[in-house]
């Protein structure tokens, strides 16, 4: 029962062609559908219809983010709990959104639109289910070609309130937290049912903002190769390749052509539901963010979508 994993992120872009070119040629996602005003994309190992929707709009921004729930009945249960907390919810019927059935949408306390869904259209990965090769045919892979989306990070003015909502209402699990000198939460890392350090993270910043979403890569060597691909294509790298203290993950941050931050990520550790929370103090946050550099990058903290 509860939140399983991140399913898709929906963003706005003022240049649909440029964004689509970057996400297919550099990131190496597959375009699965193009409509008049939107492009739907997925990674090669994802079985769902899509994990990213780019929608044309004059200004860049986050439309919504969608998590899959663990079982069909969870949708109703979580809808009741979100309503009881005081966030109005909207049911979106099957057929209204591409690639999925019925869903529930609401604004989280920090203003982003979150969606919960069970019924995702399963279109299969690039390998199939019958004597599958471990990787897709090499000529079908372009750019970085991550196997799947991993997690996202959004901003909130009141991180403590976000923590209450995501843990007590949605039942996600706090794995790590950053505390200021007064014991207030400045950042939280939350897991659904993925047994990983985070499926979503929330860090102090303006309400409604998207900080980044991340794609999984299998190891550090792929992170290094991704950096080569980014540099070759003239993509602006924000930080890395390096390592996080928080999550222990290996990472690169970079910007898509319209300034939305992306990450490639690997590593982390196994999280049991009863694992104790790891705490980072403000004076060690440089290491928490970027363990090797030990600096708090103002660009990293202040730039968002």
């Amino acid at each position: 029962m509860g939140i399983l994993r991140l399913a898709h992120v929906d963003v706005r872009t003022p240049d649909l062609d440029l964004s689509a070119a970057y996400y297919t040629e550099v990131m190496g996602l597959r375009q699965v559908l193009r409509t008049e005003d939107a492009v739907y994309l997925k990674c090669w190992d994802e079985e769902d219809h899509h994990s990213l929707r780019l929608r044309y709009e004059a200004r860049t921004g986050l439309d919504s983010f969608t998590f899959r729930v663990e079982a069909e009945d969870d949708l109703h249960e979580l809808e009741k709990r979100v309503e009881a907390y005081g966030c109005p919810t909207t049911r979106v019927s099957a057929g209204e959104a591409v690639g999925q059935g019925e869903s529930v949408r609401f604004e989280v306390p920090s203003g982003q639109v979150m969606e919960l869904v069970w019924d995702l259209e399963k279109t299969g990965n690039a390998l199939g289910k019958h004597n599958p090769a471990p990787v897709p045919p090499p000529h079908t892979l372009k750019g970085i070609a991550p196997p799947r989306m991993d997690h996202m990070l959004v901003n909130a003015e009141e991180v403590g309130e976000a923590n209450t909502f995501f843990t007590e209402v949605l039942g996600m699990r706090l794995t790590e937290q950053l505390l200021d000198g007064n014991g207030h939460q400045l950042g939280i890392w939350l897991a659904g049912r993925t047994n990983s350090p985070h499926d979503i993270a929330i860090v102090n910043g303006p309400n409604g903002a998207l900080h980044h979403w991340a794609y999984w890569l299998d190891d550090w060597d792929h992170i290094r190769k991704a950096a080569d691909t980014l540099a070759y294509n003239g993509v602006q790298i924000d930080q890395g390749p390096t390592r996080h203290g928080v999550t222990r993950g290996n990472t690169i941050y970079f910007f898509d052509p319209l300034g939305i931050r992306n990450e490639v990520f690997t590593g982390g550790y196994w999280v049991d539901p009863d694992t104790e929370i790891i705490t980072w103090t403000e004076q060690e946050f440089g290491k928490g963010l970027f363990y090797y550099e030990n600096v708090i990058s103002q660009r990293f903290l202040r730039m968002h979508t």
């Binding site: 049912r193 299998d218 060597d221 222990r248 790891i278 705490t279 290491k287």
Partner: protein
């Protein structure tokens, strides 16, 4: 709102030479000794927070004494006791610490293959080797291979289908992959609770047999380093670093000093609860097991403990 079975908690293996095996598991594999009884040594990996994941027990023969899975809640032990008794499987119950130092509350029963299966809750928490505030990503001065955690167990059964049905229907595991003989019966199956390709797998062979148990490493580079360590110490390598078709994992197999097979494993993929299982056919079994070699050495099928 419980997770039922979470993951593999521990394996207890029989060893005719306790001192020799303890030296191997601590110095070469790099596990940490946490307790001893008259005839047992308790070991854990560095990133595991609980008291033990491998128990060595002095005995005249080698092989698997039992395997234990962690459940999310103590009430899950009652839930599974009722389910097991409903299908006429006798269940024994043990209080916390009754079975040994650090041991949780547990139930035990026999799988159709004669393997003793334990479900447990409340294994003593001793912490990993890192602080809970501002932790570095890994401890310094680890010895040997030092995998962060135990990953899965692979056993043998005369009737793979009966074993698989029992694990799915009674214990609520999910099938991720299967190898089918030309007549359609299951030669091997791979089962999970942790959203990974396998927490347990079974292949046709003598009832009660242990094929191997596996430890997680973070990446392929870690597997290569481990092979260096194994070769340096003169450990008998069964299968040098390679890749599986099934699970897509990277692997190396080797034997402990008394002949129990160990594996180091990384890779794999994400598994949703409604994942459609992958099927391998008998003709492709070579690739299923060792994707690069496309054939399986006879020892892999015939040698077990």
């Amino acid at each position: 709102m419980t997770d039922r079975i979470l993951r593999l908690q521990h394996v207890e293996v029989r060893v005719p030479d306790l001192e020799l095996c303890t030296a191997y598991y601590t110095e070469v594999l790099g596990l940490i000794e946490t307790a001893r009884t008259e005839n047992q040594v308790f070991l854990k990996c560095w990133d595991e927070r609980e008291h033990h994941s491998v128990i060595l027990r002095e005995a005249p023969t080698y092989g698997l004494d039992h395997m234990s899975f962690k459940v999310g809640d103590a009430a899950d032990l009652d839930y599974f006791t009722e389910k097991l008794q409903a299908v006429s499987v006798p269940v024994k119950r043990y209080a916390a610490r009754e079975l040994g130092p650090g041991w949780g509350e547990a139930i035990r029963f026999d799988a159709p293959s004669g393997h003793v299966v334990e479900l447990t809750h409340g294994t003593e928490r001793v912490g990993n080797m890192l602080p809970m505030t501002n932790p570095p990503p890994r401890p310094q001065y680890l010895v040997g291979i030092a995998p962060p955690r135990l990953d899965h167990v692979f056993v043998m059964a005369e009737d793979v289908e009966a074993f698989t049905t029992f694990f799915i229907d009674v214990l609520e595991f999910r099938l991720t992959e299967q190898i089918l003989a030309n007549d359609g019966h299951q030669l091997a199956t791979f089962l999970e609770r942790s959203h990974t390709p396998h927490d347990i797998a079974v292949i046709t062979g003598p009832n009660g047999g242990l094929h191997h148990f596996a430890f997680w490493l973070d990446d392929w580079n870690g597997i290569r380093d481990a092979a260096d360590t194994l070769a340096y110490h003169g450990v008998e390598i069964d299968v040098a670093p390679t890749r599986h078709g099934v699970t897509r994992g990277y692997t190396t197999y080797f034997f402990d000093p008394v002949g129990n097979r160990n594996e180091l494993f990384t890779g794999g993929y994400w598994v949703d609860p409604d994942f459609e299982p992958i099927t391998w056919t008998e003709e492709e079994m070579g690739r299923a097991i060792f994707y690069y070699d496309r054939q399986v050495n006879e020892r892999f099928f015939t040698v077990h403990s």
